[in-house]
């Protein structure tokens, strides 16, 4: 499969505070992340809040500039090349649409930015609305006349209208009612199958991730803990953090949860990341070496396509 996106040793540092007489502190939001995504592939970025997954998504979409490292899209390192070919779907459907614009104006905005005529924009927006299951009458209405789930679909229509090669979806289901989530999830799945679009699917919900993704990358405090194919990750998780996350998924009637891998404590502040392996403060397997030496992303024993960063991986 052809490689669509490549991230090489991405660092994102965010300056905090600082004024006339005070030095700034730097927050390491993303630290040494390298990934590759093929055409048509769905990569999920999972982690707790504060893991940096949204930040990484924004870097991929061109909304944030990385402090170090390269982002290559279709072998093109320039941010401009990604504009429009990479689209975004946001978490909050209520702030994703400009309340002053009609739905067709919103949906066709990517085309407007490319210079298309309004006639063309209108017809393309109606097409896009149809693809997400909304009728043409919706085109002349305003966002406030729609529910959350419908607004999210409008946002998806907007992402589709410019025929992107990749969509970064930042927790697109989190703000929706549970009953609507499955509808929108199926829609995303449907689109993926029909158009062969790659997704970067950001989520903290592993259940949803399992349904949609081909590969999964697990982030913790801005660092990659594990990257594996969907099946490998869910059936034979290698990193203790991944295992703990999986154990936390609520399960009904599937037998008792394994006690051993429950996460202890709270995520440390990104301003003061732990030394060595950043996960060692909460890891049930932590030893001395874990606080001294940062583990590299290396293949798990016997499964070369599954990599994880742990001194004591499975």
């Amino acid at each position: 499969m052809t490689e669509l996106l490549r991230l090489d040793h991405i660092n994102v540092d965010i300056p905090i505070g600082g004024g006339l007489f005070r030095p700034r502190a730097w927050l390491q939001a993303i630290n040494d992340v390298s990934l590759s995504v093929a055409k048509g592939e769905t990569l999920a970025l999972v982690g707790e809040s504060g893991s940096g997954k949204s930040t990484l998504g924004f870097v991929i979409a061109g909304l944030r500039k990385q402090t170090a490292g390269q982002v290559a899209f279709n072998s093109n390192r320039d941010v401009e090349g990604r504009k429009s070919a990479v689209q975004v779907i946001f978490q909050d459907p209520f702030s994703a649409l400009d309340p002053r614009m009609t739905v067709w104006e919103i949906v066709s905005e990517p085309l407007r930015l490319k210079g298309a005529s309004s006639k063309e924009r209108f017809s393309k927006s109606v097409e896009a609305l149809d693809q997400v299951g909304l009728p043409p009458e919706a085109a002349h209405r305003y966002p406030h006349q729609f529910s959350g789930g419908q607004r999210q679909r409008i946002a998806i229509a907007r992402a589709l209208v410019a025929e992107p090669e990749m969509i970064v979806a930042d927790e697109p289901l989190s703000a929706l009612d549970v009953s609507i989530q499955s509808q929108v999830l199926n829609l995303l799945d449907d689109i993926k199958r029909r158009h062969g679009i790659s997704y970067i699917f950001i989520s903290h919900d592993l259940g949803v991730v399992r349904h949609l993704s081909d590969r999964v990358a697990v982030l913790y405090l801005g660092r990659l803990m594990e990257v594996a194919s969907r099946d490998d990750l869910f059936e034979t998780p290698s990193h203790p953090y991944t295992q703990a996350l999986l154990n936390a998924i609520p399960r009904i009637g599937r037998g008792r949860r394994k006690r051993e891998n429950i996460l202890r404590g709270e995520m440390p502040s990104p301003l003061a990341p732990p030394s060595g392996c950043v996960f060692h403060t909460r890891c049930p397997r932590a030893q001395d070496i874990c606080s001294q030496e940062r583990p590299e992303l290396l293949p798990a024993p016997g499964r070369p396509t599954q990599v994880s960063a742990c001194h004591f991986k499975d």
Binding site: G17, G19, L20, F21, R22
Partner: protein, 317 residues
């Protein structure tokens, strides 16, 4: 906190210097020859000296030289002579500052409790008739012209009814205190009316917000009387930011004072500045304006500092 204070003080000094330059330039744009005018009021200068100074610091010299000379003298305490009064500027301004201070202090002393009282009454029952009255009152205070209100009050109370004097200060400067206060009633009333308006709105909004908060509900649940709740708890909380509102309102107060002093014939800073500009008295105008600006900036600085002291988050920004 100390760092913040020092940084703000430094900024204030810079702003004052910049303002002094701006005012110097503006004053120079008034009709007449600024340098000639500035030298006029000094009775001790001989014509020869005047000619010499004119050559050194005259209008044909670049601005920065003239300004520099002025600043140099100013920093040594020499602010020049008033060309209208033939006295040193500071001597003229001294009593004027006192007069305006009397006026403003009296205004504040009445305005603050009045605003608190009216605001609390209004907040007690939002939408009630008291609230509507207060709203109307506040509305009127931002719709009425101050100078006209003064005139109407003079017409009604001084001319028609004869109850109060039409001027703000008694004729004899050493008149009894009671006389002085009598003369101050109308001007202070006008200033208070316009000062209280925005204050009341603020107190009312602030109190309504506080009254809806949790700790008030607790107080009520404890069974405290409504008055106690209102006064002891809600008012106190709503007042804290009021301090900064007051400090920032100095500019508007001073503007109002200028108008009132002019109409009521009170020789305060406002009137002095007004007369100085009308009579093209450069030195007096410049220093008077600068003084007003400095006091205003200092009070807004105090507001910032008080606010930062009360809300530590500002400092950490």
């Amino acid at each position: 906190m100390l760092r913040y204070t020092i940084s703000r003080l430094l900024q204030a000094v810079i702003v004052i210097l910049v303002m002094s330059l701006l005012l110097y330039m503006l004053i120079g744009l008034m009709p007449g020859d600024p340098v000639e005018n500035m030298l006029e009021g000094n009775p001790s200068l001989t014509p020869a000296v005047v000619a010499q100074m004119r050559a050194l610091y005259g209008v044909d010299q670049p601005l920065y030289i003239r300004y520099g000379h002025w600043l140099y003298s100013a920093l040594q305490g020499d602010f020049g002579y008033s060309s209208v009064y033939f006295r040193p500027v500071l001597v003229v301004l001294g009593p004027a500052v006192l007069q305006t201070a009397k006026l403003l202090v009296a205004t504040q002393v009445i305005s603050i409790p009045l605003a608190m009282f009216l605001g609390a009454l209004a907040a007690r029952k939002p939408g009630g008739w008291m609230d509507n009255f207060v709203s109307l009152f506040a509305f009127a205070s931002i719709s009425l012209p101050g100078f006209w209100t003064s005139l109407i009050l003079i017409i009604v109370f001084a001319v028609k009814l004869g109850w109060l004097p039409a001027s703000g200060t008694p004729l004899m400067t050493d008149a009894a205190l009671s006389q002085q206060l009598l003369h101050m009633i109308l001007p202070v009333t006008v200033l208070t009316f316009f000062h209280v308006g925005p204050l009341v709105r603020y107190v009312r909004a602030s109190m309504i917000e506080t009254l809806n908060s949790d700790f008030i509900r607790t107080a009520r649940a404890k069974g405290l009387s409504e008055t106690t709740v209102l006064v002891r708890h809600a008012l106190r909380n709503a007042l804290i930011p009021l301090v900064t509102v007051l400090a920032l309102s100095f500019g508007t107060l001073f503007s109002g004072a200028l108008v009132v002093e002019t109409i009521f014939g009170m020789l305060g800073m406002g009137k002095v500045i007004y007369d100085a500009i009308s009579n093209i008295d450069f030195n007096l105008a410049l220093v008077g304006l600068l003084l007003a600006t400095i006091v205003t900036l200092l009070s807004s600085l105090l507001a910032d500092l008080a606010y930062a002291w009360l809300d530590p988050r500002i400092v950490l920004k």
